[in-house]
């Protein structure tokens, strides 16, 4: 079961993910609204690209059942990014997290754009098991985080409770199980070198999941922008 090995390979990072100020402040409901909005705007951009990548994986897979799974995951990701506006605008009044114009996605920050570039290049140029592996952390890391928060209990008065709950909803956990099963199936026919590459892809994407939170939280949008001149 390769996914177990993958989770072991990032075991040392998991506590750091759970304890990252973005996640602890989100859980306590004290994360600044500004940071959360910036995160959602980036997440929208990310999910749009993620949907395209999942679609490309579906195209390249040969097994019809696996193909169907990835077409569906691709649609789910697209729908999620599309609904991101409406879902968190629903609660009116003081619970309202942000206004429509605040979530207008601008440009991806550099950690996010590199993550997106990496996912596209992996599906375009690497063997398909690696592409599947590179898409796994988005499911595995978030569900791990979501289940951890659920176990501790989610306060309904937390302005971000709806968001936190989405990490551990049945629908999302089911998607995770399905993609994990495909990864395990694909790895079964591989030699150790190829398996190691799958694990490497999983670790790389996990890295970018952490950088995603970190760069949004620290408001370091583009680290090449410490240059005095940025025209765009």
């Amino acid at each position: 079961m390769i996914v177990k090995e993958m989770m072991l390979a990032v075991a040392h990072l998991l506590p750091r993910i759970h304890e990252h100020p973005f996640n602890t402040e989100l859980y306590r409901g004290v994360l600044s609204k500004e940071v959360f909005n910036a995160f959602l705007a980036q997440d929208k951009l990310y999910l749009r690209a993620f949907s395209a990548v999942l679609n490309k994986i579906a195209l390249r897979l040969s097994d019809t059942e696996q193909k169907q799974i990835f077409y569906r995951l691709s649609e789910d990701a697209f729908r999620t990014q599309d609904n991101l506006h409406h879902k968190y605008l629903k609660c009116a009044g003081s619970n309202r997290l942000f206004y429509h114009h605040e979530l207008m996605a601008t440009k991806p920050i550099s950690s996010v754009s590199t993550y997106i570039d990496y996912l596209h290049n992996t599906v375009d140029f690497e063997p398909i098991p690696q592409a599947v592996a590179s898409c796994l952390p988005c499911f595995c890391i978030y569900s791990d985080l979501g289940l951890g928060m659920k176990r501790k209990g989610i306060d309904k008065s937390n302005p971000y409770s709806l968001w936190i709950e989405s990490y551990s909803k049945q629908e999302f956990l089911k998607s995770k199980e399905v993609i994990v099963a495909v990864a395990n199936q694909l790895s079964a026919q591989l030699d150790d070198v190829e398996k190691k590459k799958m694990i490497g892809a999983f670790v790389k994407s996990t890295h970018f999941e952490i950088l995603f939170w970190d760069s949004v939280y620290r408001k370091k949008p583009n680290y090449q922008d410490n240059l005095s001149c940025n025209k765009f």
Partner: protein, 221 residues
Amino acid sequence: MIFNEMTAVTSELLISIHQHPFNTQLGKGTLAKEQFVFYLLQDALYLADFSRALSIIAARLSDNSHMQQYVAFSLDAIKSERELHFNYLNQYKTQGYITYGRDDQSPSCFMYTNYLLRMASLVPIEEAIACSLPCFYIYHEVGKKMSTYLRTDHPYYDWINLYSGEGFKASVQAAINIVNELGSHASEKTRSKMVQAFFKATQLEWLFWEGAYNREEWVVL
């Protein structure tokens, strides 16, 4: 000429590149060898993917003479990588001084190569071409500046000589000509995206030197 627009928006950035401590020390010959070796290793890793990106661009170009030029660029890039690998980096590798594989790309190198590959395969060809240009143009500018009072006993003589030399200059001019030609047929919107792509790749050039100077690692949090 779209190339003039490109150099205009990156003029300040080019100054930052010239003034980057990596380059000022490289020019004076005082740059520490460790930093230079780190840079060369990353450059070799970069060149392998750059060559891939140039091949993809070549395959997508519709004009046959442009395609021939980009195939030649791609071959030059991978030849340089092989040369670095076998003539230079191997000795450090056998001494256990460095490892060498695609997984060893530093964050800046990774960012740059993944950007180039994604642009080469996914966006309109005019933009893809534009983001491949800084690697030619910027290196020639940097090389030229360093070559002014270049002596043969300079520790980095070969490097400076390569990028300031006539052969490289001809490649740079050929690349600029193709960008100008594609730019002349492009819509205003595409032209603006071409300039943006040139700007971003120039930023990534700066970042590449910054990364090498600091010998950056993958650090999370």
